[in-house]
Amino acid sequence: MDSRTAVSSDRSKAPPLLAGRVARWSSLGGNRMARLGLMGVGVAAGLALLAPMLAPHDPMQTDLTRNLLAPSWDHLLGTDQLGRDVLSRLLHGARVSLGIALLSGTLSVVIGVALGALGGYLGGWVDSVVMRMVDVVLAVPRLVLLVTVIAIVQPSVTAIVLLLAFTQWPAPARLIRAEILSLKERDFVEAARALGYSRTRILLRHLVPNALSPVLVAATLGVSHTVILESGLAFLGLGVPLSWGTLLLSGQANLLTGAWWLSVFPGVAIALVAIAFNLVGDGLRDALDPRQEVRL
């Protein structure tokens, strides 16, 4: 109740490590919505992994006599303009879309954390170079940059993963840099320095683990964003086959034939995955640091 008890936080103590805070979250059971999201992510991952076993048809098998069929027992989600089974294409598409999002997300966190931590810790010209790189990447709307570059280099899984990561890393870089800038003035870092630990050890053992939680939150929320962005690229014709966005593209092409199932189901799949990751991200944020505001 008394305001002074609330602000009497001990500056000399290191904040609890990420692992500890995650443990606290799971021990509290998280909130209901976050658990729902985690379940959704699990289901999506399971479906993607087991797609070859679960898919009722070959996703590539065309049958022009059975094209644009509305959902039925034979084709639960209907068929597309070439007679391919939409459900099977969605299940196989989950591997493409989720795989690309997770890979590029991980890569962007690795690049961003490395560059952001170095910049924040070393300061000086290293920091300037990193921050100018961030500025350049952020200067153009991400989609415009992606569209331009993918159009030049031609779409492939590798190109899309790399480009998504290269346009995503500024977010984790800025977050970790800000955290490290504030952490490095704290007493426990002074103490580590006084104890004669090397700069590398202080950075890797003391600073980075303590600065990771906002990055983790942003990365989780970022996956949902990337799933949407990747399907968006495919929707613009800059994707790989079977991506959910590619399915949507064929849906739009057949929109005025009334084949609603071609547009509705892939979109629902994208939205559900995005919602699931957002729920997990929100839950993580509430658990790790209720006051943490996630930017971008």
Binding site: M1, D2, S3, R4, T5
Partner: protein, 325 residues
């Protein structure tokens, strides 16, 4: 006799793991017009909760026991049949917040913030309200009141902001002033001036002032009477000079002993061994007995009030009863 403020059997509980824990228990206070009563206690003693219940600004989740009575000017303000809060807050009761706590809105000018309270509680508007704003700023001793009125909070010094906060509390023309640690964030010289201002306003306006503080130095400078709170209860009350000279409760004596000579105000309050028990773990009997050096078997029972001599001082301690009889 009808006091300006009468608090009786005030009990406020907060939810905790095991249900509800009383944070304030059976508090009794009274205050006359033109008088300053200091409510002294450490963090967590319940003094702020007591003050907040006077303006019904308890945080959500807090419950007030039905037998609790808070009356201001004979009118019940808490519990069944209480008057509407909006007239109470800022009107009948003005709250002086602590400078540095962020009680001033950073993006609005001082004049605007004062003016809206004047308009709300005095029923004046236009140029009249503007003149009243300037008059209030003058009353709290701010030079160049018009300049202050057009300033933003960050453009003023800490002492000036504290004066503005006092003006804000006075803007609704209150009968009762509640000052929550009004000087803790200020340096010693400014502190003395602010306390002198509060004293003067209490006299000239005939206010009753409840001064919430953890600092016995402030008490000595300012107040007429003192109530000492510990773990949700008032343990001792009496005239300030009397209580500071010959404290009746071991806790009060501990507090005074912790004050270095020369009455330095920044002294740590609790240099007694042990810690105050948190709400929910305050079992039966005297709440201070765990830390009391003179604990008796009898202290496992709750002590009742014992009057101390002719001066109206009283204390909740079995030792005082022993001494008397």
């Amino acid at each position: 006799m009808s006091s300006l403020l009468r608090v009786a059997d005030l009990t406020v509980s907060f939810p905790d793991r095991h249900g509800r824990a009383p944070v304030v228990q059976g508090v009794q206070l009274s205050l006359e017009a033109g008088e300053i009563l200091a409510l002294v206690g450490e963090s967590g003693s319940g003094k702020t909760v007591t003050a907040l219940s006077l303006v019904r600004l308890l945080p959500p989740g807090a419950t007030v026991a039905p037998e609790s009575v808070v009356e201001i000017g004979g009118i019940r303000v808490l519990g069944p049949g209480a008057t509407p809060a909006r007239h109470l807050r800022g009107g009948t009761v003005g709250v002086v917040f602590q400078e540095g706590s962020g009680a001033l809105n950073p993006v609005r000018r001082i004049g605007e913030q004062l003016r809206e309270v004047v308009v709300r509680h005095r029923g004046v508007a236009g140029a009249e309200a503007g003149r009243e704003v300037v008059r209030l700023l003058e009353e709290v001793g701010l030079p160049e009141p018009s300049r202050v009125a057009s300033s933003f909070p960050h453009q003023l010094s800490g002492g000036m902001r504290q004066r503005v906060l006092i003006a804000l509390a006075l803007a609704g023309d209150p009968r009762l002033l509640v000052a929550d640690e009004p000087t803790s964030a200020l340096d010693a010289r400014v502190q003395l001036r602010i306390l002198a201002l509060i004293r003067e306003l209490t006299r000239t306006r005939g206010l009753g002032t409840l001064l919430i503080t953890h600092d016995l130095g402030v008490v000595a400078h300012t107040s007429d009477r003192v109530a000492v709170m510990y773990a949700g209860r008032v343990l001792e009350e009496g005239r300030a000079d009397q209580l500071l000279r010959s404290p009746g409760h071991p806790y009060t004596r501990g507090l005074l002993a912790a004050l270095p000579s020369g009455r330095q105000r920044k002294a740590p309050l609790a240099s007694m061994p042990g810690r105050m028990p948190p709400p929910g773990l305050r079992g039966a009997g005297c709440v201070f007995r765990d830390r009391c050096s003179q604990e008796r078997p009898r202290c496992r029972e709750e002590p009742d009030w014992v009057s101390l001599g002719e001066t109206g001082g009283r204390v909740r301690c079995w030792l005082a009863l022993e001494a008397e009889g």
